[in-house]
């Protein structure tokens, strides 16, 4: 390890992380995108199924729609997101603090631990022993290795926080009195929020589902385990989103020739996500019997509150991009938009991701709207929403980031810039069509997570939106294939980059230096606030559910 720990400095004072860390990030990113590839291909089958074209019989290993859907969900939002985020954040922390991680050895151990967990998850999913979908609601039961594998992945994310905190503390010792560099600060906030949030699923898996699936417990309480799931299940979306925000706030403005409009509000937004991400899970349980209407209303209100840091993000990020567009000669109210570097796929992907995210934010408010949720709950409106958020704001941004990050980390030339140029636009158009189809079908009452093509009750007015879902899905698949050719082509090619890639880091408009208030550079007060808010908003309900504990044996009807 000693050799890789040395600080590599090239070209002036631009810090480049040691090779071992660059390889680590690439390994995470490659494993993540390999899973996304499978997930995207299975997504196409789902879209076609809704339009009445059932291709599952022709696909090896996949027995039916629900097995494919389980893989689609788990691969896309658990394996892909977590792996990409792991690779990205480990890079961001080292680059942000301009020092080696504490330690690269531990980071590699984390990678291998997660890889073992992922192989367990892959095995159970492909053998149809875990077709329980992403939510794995008990008493629907999966193979124990499925839960164990996911638990290892979560433990891996905790180790990432350990690495990040140790590296940050070492940096603080070396740089007394200085405020944390922005990207490192944001990476810390992201992992701290996630680690607090993951307590719910950790208790659910370790305390209930794992011993139950091994036969050590006769049964579990469906409502309590489900509530623990959503304690983690909503904040996890901010674990996916915040790394995209890191790029939007602190990197993309630089790529667009701009500057960060407001450093203090950027920091505040990340800090607000720590306490506000967690006490919102009941908005996934509005229609659950056994959860009081009062607590549902409190969670509804707090879900609106967590919209605020995203509203702040919209302003700051757009203002930062506007600085860039105007510096590049843009005039008038909106002329700066056309002057942004749309030709750069890394930029175009993220700008288009933002446009789709605006639509996703609106549909998210509808989902969160307490009794309005009665109309859309568990209909296709919901996937119509989250394909705009995690499927666009997050996934398309991660693709965009990869267009510069993978050449940077690997030192190789981007394999097919032509395909890369088309890819974000195809994703954008495909997503507009597919999401519109899904939302429309959902408003017409079509349930989500259902093999509608085989449902005896398929309604005539679902046909048109079902075809939109299929056609949009086809566009997305083609876009995905363009991306994967570019990504894996770059990784496998021997062609070195002619000029070294730079890490785009946006400067704040005015450097606040150390004038920032202390509470914008510390995490402890925000963590304390989070614990208090969660105890108030969840405590009484969980205590009551534990008191009314019921025991239901597992069932595997798939």
């Amino acid at each position: 390890m000693a050799a890789t720990m040395t600080r590599v400095v090239a070209r002036g004072d631009a810090y480049i992380p040691p090779e071992s860390e660059r390889k680590l990030s690439l390994a995470f990113i490659a494993v993540g995108f390999a899973h996304l590839l499978v997930g995207v291909l299975l997504g196409l089958l789902q879209g076609l199924e809704h339009a009445g074209i059932d291709l599952y019989a022709y696909v090896p290993l996949i027995r039916h729609y629900y097995q494919g859907l389980s893989i689609h969900g788990v691969f896309n939002v658990l394996v892909f997101t977590t792996c990409f985020i792991g690779g990205f954040l480990m890079f961001v922390v080292g680059r942000g603090l301009e020092r080696p991680l504490e330690t690269a050895g531990l980071a590699w151990a984390t990678f291998w631990l997660m890889a073992v967990g992922i192989v367990m998850v892959d095995y159970t999913l492909f053998t149809n022993q875990a077709s329980v979908l992403f939510t794995s609601y008990a008493p629907l039961q999966a193979h124990p290795l499925y839960y164990l594998g996911l638990a290892l992945v979560v433990v891996g994310t905790w180790l990432m926080l350990v690495i990040t905190l140790r590296t940050t503390l070492a940096w603080r010792r070396e740089n007394p009195g200085k405020k944390l560099p922005l990207i490192a600060f944001a990476a810390n906030a992201t992992l701290i929020m996630w680690t607090l949030a993951s307590v719910g699923i950790a208790i659910e898996f370790v305390g209930f589902l794992i011993p139950w699936s091994l036969g050590w417990l006769p049964g579990v309480d469906p409502l309590l385990t489900r509530t623990l799931f959503w304690l983690t299940g909503h904040p996890i979306v901010y674990f996916w989103l915040l790394p995209a925000y890191i790029s939007w706030y602190f990197m993309l403005p630089k790529q667009a020739g701009g500057k960060l409009f407001s450093e203090s509000l950027a920091r505040l937004a990340f800090l607000l996500f720590i306490p506000l991400s967690l006490p919102v899970g009941f908005h996934h349980q509005y229609l659950d019997p056994g959860v009081s209407e009062g607590y549902k209303a409190i969670h509804a209100f707090l879900t609106f509150a967590v919209f605020m840091p995203s509203a702040m993000t919209a302003f700051t990020v757009l203002a930062s991009l506007e600085i860039g567009g105007r510096a590049r000669g843009g005039k008038g109210l909106l002329g700066w938009v056309t002057r942004l570097p749309w030709n750069d796929p890394a930029v175009a992907a993220q700008l288009l991701a933002m446009v789709l995210f605006a639509l996703g934010g609106v549909s998210g408010l509808i989902n969160a709207s307490y009794n309005m949720n009665l109309v859309v709950h568990n209909t296709l409106f919901v996937p119509g929403h989250f394909h705009l958020t995690v499927g666009s704001a997050v996934a398309l941004t991660f693709m965009g980031v990869s267009y510069w990050l993978v050449p940077y980390l690997s030192g190789k030339k981007l394999f097919s810039p032509g395909l890369a140029k088309w890819q974000p636009w195809l994703w954008f158009v495909g997503m507009l069509i597919m999401s519109r189809g899904m939302s429309w079908m959902g408003i017409l009452g079509a349930p989500r997570r259902t093999a509608l093509g085989s449902a005896p009750y398929f309604m005539a007015d679902w046909t048109m939106p079902a075809w939109m879902t299929a056609i949009g899905g086809l566009c997305l698949t083609i876009s995905g294939i363009f991306f994967f050719i570019t990504l894996f082509g770059t990784l496998l090619s021997k062609e070195k980059a002619t000029e070294p890639q730079q890490v785009p880091l946006a400067e704040p408009v005015e450097d606040n230096g150390d004038k920032l208030p202390g509470w914008l550079d510390r995490f402890t007060p925000w963590v304390t606030a989070t614990v208090i808010i969660v105890l108030i908003t969840y405590g009484p309900s969980i205590v009551r559910m534990a008191g009314e504990y019921t025991v239901f044996p597992g069932l595997r009807p798939y």
Binding site: Y66, L133, Y137, P139, L140, D221, P222, L223, R226, F261, S262, S264, L265, L287, D288, P289, G290, V291, S292, E293, K296, A297, A300, F304, A305, F307, M308, A311, M312, F315, A319, L365, S369, Y370, N371, M372, N373, L374, V375, H377, N378, T379, G445, P447, R448, R449, T450, A451, S454, A455, P456, Y457, M459, L516, L520, E548, T550, F552, L555, P557
Partner: protein, 157 residues
């Protein structure tokens, strides 16, 4: 901490908008009576006492125009699967699951809820238009989930 004037306006506007939305939701719930499932009875439907076996589905008339439905959900059917009531009836559904989580959504109504083993889901709706109302399970419950459905037939007087 300096905040740009326009940014301050934007944040205020977003906050005001969200408060307006919240007030409207409160209004629809408190005044219009659009309610969510809340704390429930466990395992046994409240009114199941009497001659009826709770594991059997049944429909009974409590008073003219007022009906009560006891429904059992399991993989992959509802019992009863067909419910007949005259138009104008107010029907209260009590639904429980005997195995895993299911859902219950009646198309073109506000009836939509999760059926969680151990809890009794309850919803009330007044059918003002005659016709056939499809209801479906809208929570994944295994390989035959998409077969799980039934109908409320609202008969014209």
């Amino acid at each position: 901490m300096h905040i740009d004037r326009y940014e301050r306006m934007w944040i205020t506007l977003a906050g005001v908008l969200l408060i307006v939305f919240a007030v409207m939701l409160g209004f629809s719930s408190a005044v219009l009576g659009v309610r969510l499932p809340g704390l429930s009875d466990q395992l046994l439907p409240t009114t199941a006492a009497g001659p009826h076996d709770i594991n059997q589905g049944w429909v009974r008339e409590l008073a003219p125009g007022r009906y009560e439905v006891n429904m059992r959900a399991r993989v992959w059917n509802f019992n009863p699967t067909e419910i007949r009531v005259p138009v104008g009836s107010t029907v209260t559904f009590y639904i429980h699951s005997e195995d895993i989580i299911h859902g219950f959504k009646i198309q073109d109504t506000t009836v939509s809820m999760m059926i969680i083993p151990g809890q009794v889901a309850k919803a009330t709706y007044t059918f003002t238009k005659p016709g056939e109302y499809l209801f479906v399970c809208h929570e994944y419950c295994g390989a035959g989930h998409h077969f799980m459905s039934g109908r409320v037939i609202v008969e014209a007087l």
